[in-house]
Symmetry: D3
């Protein structure tokens, strides 16, 4: 079972220092394509779904190259607009040991951020889709994208397209234009069938909660309860849990709460020798959506999402390039020796 | 004989496709630092002059790396401001054969372009300088930089600092903000002791001339005459002449007109197997300034500048990294075999 | 005006020594995707046509990567079969000066070569197509592909799809399985509306001619006349002419004969500093097809094809990645300086 | 004490994705030379032995490059045949974390696999040798190599050359031509003085055993007993033990059983931060053979082999490039800090 | 609070095999600039101090490139002499797992080692400096540098410049010219206000001690006591402690003894996934000096030095390129996730 | 017909800036192995001769890597001594256009230069050799190598081994130790059967000649006559002629004079797009020696040598990696298109 899934969001070029070098320590940059929603889209396309990207890129060699990269991984890019302007960029120096990775965003005033909300014909763009996936990064970019995201969700609800919303709360982006995340994110969560979010994302919209909680899991459960109460369309909230003993070694777990009160949990797995942590959350979201879109039960969907998220940490770049069989092998605990 | 020279202008990061690849044909970029005025400054520093850069860069890892690169080549960067904002970038695909090189600018709203004109304390910045070099790119970036350039030239004239102005007319930059090049460039030329400019640059300021001329040299001579008439401080105008039989093979000559009516000429030299054409004009300007700042006569200064410009075509990156002895060897026509 | 164009042929991985190194001189290989028909398809897609690839690739990471690369450049790969087996490879050492480039084929028994002819459902594959492009490489690979090529042409003629056939005669491939090129190629030429071929290709099918001719052009004209006589569907024959003063410096011209007796000619253009000569003929064919599919007249189509072929020599890899505007700039003789 | 050692087997080119990338994620491949028997040969040559390679490579630039690489590491390649055909290749994507490495073989119909068994003059090839090393990969490639391996062992036994046989059981290779491993491998084990094998390799030849055993070590001891009973020439059986907590972190131990009933054991050593796991078993075998050929006792030989195997995991490529002193330093437990 | 700090020592070029390759395993070398004292200087410059390098480099392209690299990182190189001769080099193969890194020095007879001691005008060179930093490598290079180091310390003491001395005992260098470390190092320690040294360094000068001590810390405390007794100017002795479970995984602690009898200790921190261990001790020294030069107390200075040393292990090259804020983040135990 | 040829000389590591960069413009170096005599030896080995290298390398990872590289190309290195000391290095920045390539030697006090002359057992080293090749670089390195070269030639003459001597006059090397080239080179020329030399090399030994000559060819003929008169064993003198219109474009001819008064000439061939000019003369010498050792006549040997020299300019690195068939294809003037 598979569904046409559309992802709306900004496409970014990642310009990264090679290996574990600092930015411009040597005069080379390695280029990847990313963006929270594109990461989800590429992963779902590799899992076998029909995926289309929605949005706007610069009508220049960079924008066209980005679309080419999405097509390479099986994502339909025909609905992406090309517009005058610039591509959003981010520069990355991947850390190691106790030196954190650093991201330097250069995405202000991108063609996507400046694209007028009324340029998107949502009823047409969503036609035939089973799911719309978007994230909290898009409304954080400015008034135009905030309006576009709201329009998209409204149209999706109207057309019966299920909405998947990933919180991805980025205070710096909101601060840059004095946007009010609570009021802007609320209708997005309100339209969502599934939210990838933890208690912080929920608190942004519903306000901080005064319930006492000792553990991350308890905080998550309480926040989920509040969210289900506030947003009657919402069926599931899921998040990863992450503990970092060093930049290269994390332990990743996963949680999912459902409207019926169930709390599914995947115990943390040690992730030594991390290759690339960027996009781990998007890979998780794609994995969960794969399960749901495939009609699996919640626990299996969460397990698959968790394994997908774990595998992403071993893949260079923003995209999780593993296919569904790779993920299932990890879910099943198959042996790790060379596959010949 | 050497003089402290200050250069005011934008510093740019060049992100280039490797070899003769198209942009993002493979996922790597090679990084160089450039900018018309910095190119002149680095070359002059390598010729042995005391050179300081003036301007503003982004207060982030990119801006600091750019300053480090200037320091590496001997330019004093202590007076450059660090400010919030972004670095100007340009993407480059170097052409070949009959496929032209392509530059994709991504420099709008850079920290330099947005730096307020009153942030520069010109009397202090110019103290002790023999020369101020700037170009027509800076005022083309917007009202703030146009004002800053005017302030700089005014202060220089007041302090007896000689002004070197390189036309570098870029219509697209002016069009982007509806700036009026004629009125903005006029006071800059008016303050200049030497202008690197051809008849097109002069026509921008003085209006098109109706004198008939068959050759580039005649047009240059006429324009020079008009400029000397209009700008009493102006002593010399110099430019290169360029004929391109392919992207990799040009013929480069040079002309200099002086207020006394002399016209110096360096016959075109064939430049086969061009490595990197960017910055060729800046290398020429630096070479001429080196001669003048060293007290050479005009013909020798022009010959040195021309040879420097030729050599730049054999050096990767924006900077001419040849030293004065390298240039003199070409002026003297020394043999080309391996130097052991 | 644009037409859906389908290309049938083998997809190959090119594994090339870096720069001008010999094969495995250093332990690195640079990878490109190629194949005579795919080269034409990618170029046409970049010119704005709807292009689909037909054929078979290995159902492994290499085959999937090859399809991804075609999609990246805008070619529809959904109709390509995935089958057990291996990908065809070729190793390349690019020459220089008087050292010729060397190609080492490792394509025997590829999934494409072994794919059974009856696995292709031609009526379905050709549905909606305006053109079918294929080349003499495909039938040369073995009995299965020879049969498939014949089936494809037969179906195209039956469905009113115009056939474009590129001779690409490769004696070594035919010798490897004792295939008879004359009898196998005849029906392909017989179905073609346009053939990219010179007198040698025609002689292979029709036998050597005893007419005396002094120049390549005369031989081409005579061969074209014979072909038009033998194949009533054939409307045009076109080829490039190539003179090589060194491995890096060729002169490329072009000829087209039409059934009505016209002979169009583009005078040779010098190509100094060649970057990559592989795929030059395919780029020419794509350019001519672009003109014809766009409804241009023969002379304009030939000029465009010739310019496209010239530009390909300045692009690394098998594909001509220039777009139609780049080609038109060369046709119009625009200046070669950096495009900013 | 040192002995001339000859190794018979296929030489392969490894074409690997850089770093931890997936295959063709970026368009580059890094090339190494490998092959189970060549790996042993190179290691022994670096330990100071006189080593010659036997076998067949393609008579082309790839085959000659492979021989050059062996010579570089001190292996005599004069007896290797050059024959028409192709080189065996394998493509590798090195995994990380929980993403296993993947090998994609493209070795079918190689010049080695197709070389007729009667093309090898074994009495001449084995003249003066103290040891013949071969592995279970060679007979698995097809009837011709199976016959050649049998001939080689028969001649070795006749000439008093000691045979070292490494099981290396690869079910996929046998399945590809319906070869019967039991009957083909039996005479090879029957001729061997030492076998690198675990219980699975023994079971392939002698059939599964119904003895109950809880641990890998018990299973190994039982299988060794059965092998010594079945093959009177066999003196020693050795294997590594491997536990994998992640793709980059294994624990490696070693076992050796001798005909006299002794069981030598090296306790597992943790191998964090594995660089390249391919060839670890071959490095172990070379280390044990080094000890035996040097006249060391079994326990010391096993310890040396184990340390060699451990070190290989820190060396890129298929070959263990450490020399004997490097291995001894690990056996002695010397400090790990920078050697200056 | 900041002080002008001058560093006297040899500048070296590091030529390193890429990644974890052995030396010349592939035909490429990666270049870094290093040298114990330069490493300290660069780090201090990045912490915001005014730093000048003193010494001599070869008057050729390599020497000038090395100076350029120091300038890039903010170190003043104007006082470095250029002299005929060669640059000191070292070749590096970075190890992994249980394979140690190997350094191959090629520094004999460098321009620095041969520079006559009387070529340095110490009173002028030290003018305005708060600190002079030098190490035991310099006097170990030969009689000329030993004399220069003694002169430098003598002049510093005379001028009231505080001396920082890093033991860095290298027996091989002393052995190469039969220098007597005890007599040569004694006056250097005698002039020092702080010594980076452990009990081995102290024993070299004061002779082995017969006091019994069980732990490294006890040995350090005893040695410090002896040093304070012997050298009345000495106020502090500091060192790191290092335990190595593999080449890529160390545990690093730090100790500081002060004349008043205090012993400060930073408990070992695990350093998994080490990127580059070279320069770790120099980064520690620079960190401690930063604290002292900033007027911090001893414990805070030690903590900062320790954190700086830890971070260096995550930075490629000899220099610690982290700035003070990066180090403070580790001291404060901030979270390790991507900094956006 | 083939002969065992021994080459005596220094082995060098070339450390080169990538592409057309200046030295250390970016922090990478590409490594090749070279040395005038080794270049000849590798070329002769690839032409099918049995070649052995004689000399001394450093007993470290660099020296062993250099020997491995010679073995890779088929040269027997068993007779090369390993000795304490350093490897000779040279740094290279390859020029372009009008910017000459620059070589920076760092070869002083190498293990080869310091190896005592009496360490070579010439009668044993020359046993079975048909030719001994050496060059004027070796005696220029110092008294020890001058003595060794003299010994080698004396022993060769005594044993009937033909001596090939390449002048390779390097004034800087002689000046470094005040060696007298005339007296030291004389016995080498006296022992030679063939000299690769032009009039400058002859003048060094015989003193300047006062005969008037207008052309290089006349000067060569006169010098050859003088040499044949002075050295009765000498049979042939050969040299290339080179005109350089740019660093990348030379014209290369060749001359050979024989004792019987014949003067053979190969007209200059244009060499556009030069890849690597280093080793061109050595490739020429190897080609001539190949002809002579194969029993060809002088004119054919010279033509082959000239073609080999031309091809070298298209091969990266010091070695001419073309085989005899490649060279013959150029002699025969075969077409330059891709060889498939």
């Amino acid at each position: 079972m598979s569904a046409r899934i559309v992802c709306f969001g900004e496409l970014l070029l990642r310009l990264a220092a090679p290996g574990r070098e600092l930015l411009l320590q040597s005069p080379r940059l390695e280029v990847h394509v990313g963006g929270a929603e594109a990461n989800v889209g590429v992963s779902l396309a590799r899992f076998g779904h029909e995926v289309a990207m929605l949005g706007t890129v610069a009508d220049n060699a960079l924008g066209r190259a980005v679309l080419g990269e999405l097509r390479r991984h099986g994502v339909d890019t025909r609905a992406v607009h090309l517009a005058a302007g610039r591509m959003g960029l981010y520069f990355l120096a991947t850390g190691a040991g106790h030196r954190p990775s650093e991201v330097l965003y250069d995405r202000a005033d991108s063609a996507f951020a400046l694209a007028p909300a009324d340029g998107y014909d949502w009823p047409a763009l969503l036609r035939g889709a089973g799911w719309l996936h978007l994230s909290g990064v898009t409304p954080a970019l400015g008034a135009a994208t905030a309006a576009a995201a709201a329009d998209a969700v409204r149209a999706a609800v109207a057309q019966g397209v299920q909405v998947s919303f990933d919180g991805n709360f980025r205070p710096k982006l909101w601060a840059a234009w004095d946007g009010d995340p609570a009021s802007i994110l609320r209708p997005l969560l309100d339209g969502a069938a599934i939210a990838f979010a933890d208690h912080r994302d929920i608190d942004v919209v519903l306000g901080a909660d005064d319930a006492s909680a000792d553990t991350h899991e308890q905080r998550f459960a309480i926040a989920a309860r509040r969210a289900f109460d506030a947003f009657p369309r919402l069926q599931r909230i899921a998040c990863t849990t992450r503990a970092q003993s060093s930049v290269d070694h994390h332990a990743l777990g996963a949680l999912m709460a459902t409207r019926d009160g169930a709390l599914h949990r995947v115990e943390p797995r040690e992730l030594p020798g991390i290759v690339d942590r960027i996009g781990g959350g998007d890979a998780f979201a794609a994995g969960v959506l794969h399960g749901l879109a495939s009609g699996w039960d919640d626990a299996d969907s969460l397990r698959f999402g968790h394994a997908a998220g774990c595998l992403k940490h071993a893949v260079p770049g923003d995209f999780n390039l593993c296919d569904a069989e790779d993920v299932m092998a990890l879910v099943r605990g198959e042996r790790l020796d060379v596959k010949r």
